[in-house]
Amino acid sequence: MGSVRIQREDFDAAAETRALTQGRADVGAIVTFTGLCRDEGASLSALELEHYPGMAEEEIGRVVEQAQARWPLLGVTVLHRYGKIAPGENIVLVVTTSSHRAAAFEAAEFLMDYLKTRAPFWKKEHRRDGTQGDWVEAKDADDRALERWGHPQA
């Protein structure tokens, strides 16, 4: 019941949500998280997302399994894009469904906290002036966000 997809194409959050709810009356709560490419300084032309094919799916699959073991979820979908992504475009989607809201919210936050630090993706900036930018650096805040869920593995 957990679906993980790594793709270059954009995704449709509404269609993914529909797939988890259609024809059933036991879902009381849907939480979606969409992460987008931001450009605060008006200097970014795109982020280029590199990933480790194979491991990306498997590692996110393991994180989804942990979430399913921890919360009474009815459905989980995680989509993560790679390739060049322009400001304002989608990068990542997490959808969780449950009978009640607490499980759906907590599982979605858990999934995002783990994705940020364990899913093998790396972002490189491309600047509007045509130059290559830097590799985006990992944030301490993302490591700290894991602490509330207990010890991360490995």
């Binding site: 990933h51 993560h80 093998p120 990992a138």
Partner: protein
């Protein structure tokens, strides 16, 4: 075994993957990093701060003290920035 590199580790080494055959005394992921550093400036540059480097064996995260015996694919990369 195959070694694969991502992001700026890949850029610094200048290749995405290669077959490596470390000697028997190279036991752990950390040993393998030390052995790679001996192979040339590009490796020394990629691994100049070994503590920053993350590793995976056969597509699972491992620590630097993990043994590499039996590994088919060892990956090296910077801290992840997905999501």
């Amino acid at each position: 075994m195959k070694a694969v590199y991502f992001a700026w580790v890949r850029e610094r080494i200048g290749r995405t993957e290669e077959i490596v055959s470390p000697p028997a005394e190279v036991v752990t992921v950390g040993d393998l990093i030390g052995w790679l550093i001996q192979r040339g400036e590009e490796y020394a540059y990629a691994f100049e701060k070994p503590n920053v480097i993350r590793a995976a064996i056969d597509r699972k995260h491992v620590r630097h003290d993990a043994p590499i015996a039996g590994a088919g694919e060892v990956a090296f990369f910077p801290p992840m920035t997905g999501g």
